[in-house]
């Protein structure tokens, strides 16, 4: 069996100075195989983006990995010197972000930025890079790539900018593509197109995809597996079918109910905390959970038969 494209085991990330460090990711374990699409779903502050940034070695000065390990294609990348990080980013892992406007430099044409990305690793020369840039733009579904490559970001629509970013991300043929809410800033019709593009790219090139989102309806459409995060921990994971059709954790159910869906009356989330949390060591969801009782004073571990796991005492 081949090694997974990405494998995180018991990964913990903390921010702040050593003495007052605050853990924001607590022991996350997950794997993504080549060509597989894994979604991490959760609300703001659940640690989904921090997990992704840890893989990219982009935690900044305040953040650091305080436990566990990360492997990319079987190779340990938990602690790397800065020079190796440069090699890692782009070549092995690439990332696309929520806002395609701020991720592009407004002062350069998109072609120039794409060429820079191509030439940053294995420089094929200026001419070859330009023709490769045009091929990449065509590959991400941009009409008339020659003309578009001479345009500035402000001349492109939001959907087109996101396509350019995807082209930049796949320029160096990474093993893993991380997409952090790539469609949140886009219209629904454009969102559907961008998602279809990501799906096609994974299928044709075998790139593993880590897709971060808060919309379960969206990720269930095209991801193979889903991991639901809450307060820095994975609370449920399994195949998209299992999670969507038989959610076990009450938080997953809340997320599913929260998505407005036509033809269904809107069910709304519990607005304020229902109960005081019994303290450290209790289930993190305790204060918002309608099913919580005395058992929940002890945090449940991820458990379950087969591949569908959940961290809830109430789940069968």
């Amino acid at each position: 069996m081949t090694a997974p494209a990405l494998s995180l085991s018991d990964l913990s990330v903390a921010f702040g100075p050593e003495i007052a460090a605050r853990k924001v990711v607590h022991g996350v374990t997950l794997q993504v195989m080549a060509g597989e699409k894994l979604a991490i779903v959760g609300e703001s502050g659940s640690g989904k983006s921090v997990t992704a940034l840890a893989v990219m070695h982009q935690l900044g000065r305040a953040g650091r990995i305080v436990g566990g390990s990360m492997r990319l294609d079987g190779e340990d990348i938990t602690s790397l010197p800065e020079s190796a990080c440069h090699e890692l980013r782009g070549r092995k892992v690439a990332m696309i972000f929520q806002d395609p406007m701020t991720a592009l430099n407004p002062a350069f044409t998109v072609g120039r930025q794409l060429v820079d990305a191509i030439r940053s690793h294995d420089d094929p020369g200026r001419k070859a890079a330009w023709s490769e840039a045009e091929q990449l733009l065509a590959k991400v579904g941009i009409d008339d790539p020659r003309r578009r490559s001479g345009q500035y970001p402000h001349e492109l629509s939001g959907g087109m900018r996101q396509r350019v970013l995807i082209a930049m991300a796949i320029a160096c043929r990474p093993r893993l593509l991380i997409a952090d809410e790539p469609t949140t800033a886009l219209d629904v019709t454009v969102q559907a197109q961008v998602v279809a593009l990501l799906r096609d790219i994974c299928a044709s090139s075998g790139i593993a995809l880590l897709f971060i989102s808060h919309n379960l309806d969206l990720v269930a459409e095209f991801c193979d597996r889903i991991a639901v995060m809450y307060r820095g921990r994975i609370v449920e994971s399994g195949s998209a079918e299992a999670i969507f059709s038989a959610p076990r954790h009450p938080y997953t159910r809340l997320l599913l109910d929260a998505v407005p869906r036509p033809g269904r009356p809107l069910r709304t989330a519990a607005p304020a905390p229902l109960a005081e949390s019994p303290g450290e060591g209790a289930c993190d969801y305790f204060s918002r959970c309608r099913l919580a009782d005395a058992d929940c004073h002890v945090r449940p571990a991820l458990r379950g038969a087969g591949t569908h796991l959940s961290a809830c005492w109430r789940s069968a």
Binding site: G141, D217, E221, R261, G263, A269
Partner: protein, 329 residues
């Protein structure tokens, strides 16, 4: 509130309201460059008291421009906007003051709508005509399910959902009858989004607040609004009851919007529409370059508005759509 309530005239109405913006950015450049670009081309519709109206469309379709015209933040360059049958352009200063007490706006972007240097208490106080008592501020926060402990906080100390609640509270300070919200949930998580929707629903129920919700999320609008107005390229292309529009979109653009709503497992392996040229068409139907049902006439003339049951549809093909004809009462 001294105006006679003409029972015949709707609370808010637009009569072929259009808005063009100058292409040149600075006043000086405008002396030499008099070109304008249309953001909104003749929108006509009515909002009755107690309605929940949704306005949907993609970026650039003119929905925010329309909202700005409705609250008088901007004046139409053609057509009229009417409040209780009176043209906003004929308002005196005193009329505006009364209007502002009754019609309020919640701005887009919970994260940028609040001044980052002002505490919640200050932001809210400014919304009152006179400095409010602390009791009034607490009561206002309670209306949006926030506690008084937030009063001394600055916006960066609030979560996205809390910021949006403060934005709504600010609009409620003068106890308006109409609340117009521009993308009230677009920057929020789904679970927080549903809380904000629940809050708006509650305000509608308890205070008979008339709501106009602008969004690009047809799923949200469909689940929440009574009536929907679908906009494309500065025009209204379809209006009607939300449930009908979602179940059986009559305009091909609405059809696309409905098809693009993520639907979980049910939507697995569905094909997305190919991206099509965004070239704006002058003369013909604005949607013609992107439409898969187009016929020659679509490139020649703007489509007429056709009444189909409770719905108005601007499409050359609308009259011949058989499904609709059957469902009409």
């Amino acid at each position: 509130m001294t105006h006679a309530q003409g029972s015949a005239s709707p609370l808010l109405a637009a009569a072929s309201a259009g808005r063009r913006y100058p292409v040149a950015h600075s006043p000086l450049a405008r002396l030499f460059d008099r070109r304008t670009t249309p953001a909104l081309l003749g929108a006509s519709f009515e909002v009755q008291a107690g309605d929940i109206l949704g306005i949907v469309g993609e970026s650039g379709s003119g929905k925010s421009t329309l909202a700005r015209l409705l609250v008088g933040l901007d004046r139409p360059s053609s057509g009229r906007v009417l409040f209780e049958g009176r043209d906003l352009s004929s308002f005196t200063a005193a009329d505006w003051q009364r209007f502002r007490n009754r019609v309020q706006f919640v701005f887009q972007g919970a994260h940028t709508a609040l001044n980052p240097r002002k505490t919640v208490a200050r932001s809210l106080s400014e919304a009152f005509p006179e400095p409010p008592t602390s009791g009034a501020l607490n009561a206002l926060l309670a209306q949006v399910s926030l506690g008084p402990e937030l009063l001394d906080r600055l916006p960066h100390q609030l979560s996205g959902g809390q910021k949006q609640r403060v934005g709504i509270a600010r609009a409620l300070a003068r106890q308006p009858e109409v609340l117009i919200a521009d993308e009230p949930t677009s920057a929020l998580d789904v679970s927080v989004q549903s809380e904000i929707v629940a809050l708006l629903q509650q305000l509608h129920r308890e205070r008979r607040l008339t709501l106009v919700i602008i969004s690009h999320d047809l799923g949200l609008v469909g689940a929440f609004c009574d009536r929907v107005l679908v906009m494309y390229a500065g025009r209204i292309v379809e209006t009607g009851p939300a449930a009908q529009i979602l179940a059986e979109p009559a305009h091909p653009y609405t059809e696309r919007l409905v098809a693009a709503i993520p639907r979980g497992l049910a939507g697995r392996n569905r094909q997305a529409d190919p991206p099509l040229s965004e070239a704006a068409r002058h003369g013909g139907c604005p949607f013609e370059p992107r439409c898969s049902n187009r016929i020659p006439i679509c490139a020649q003339g703007e489509p007429p508005e056709v009444l189909l049951g409770d719905r108005l549809v601007a499409c050359h093909l609308a009259p011949s759509r058989p499904i609709i004809a059957e469902t009409n009462p």
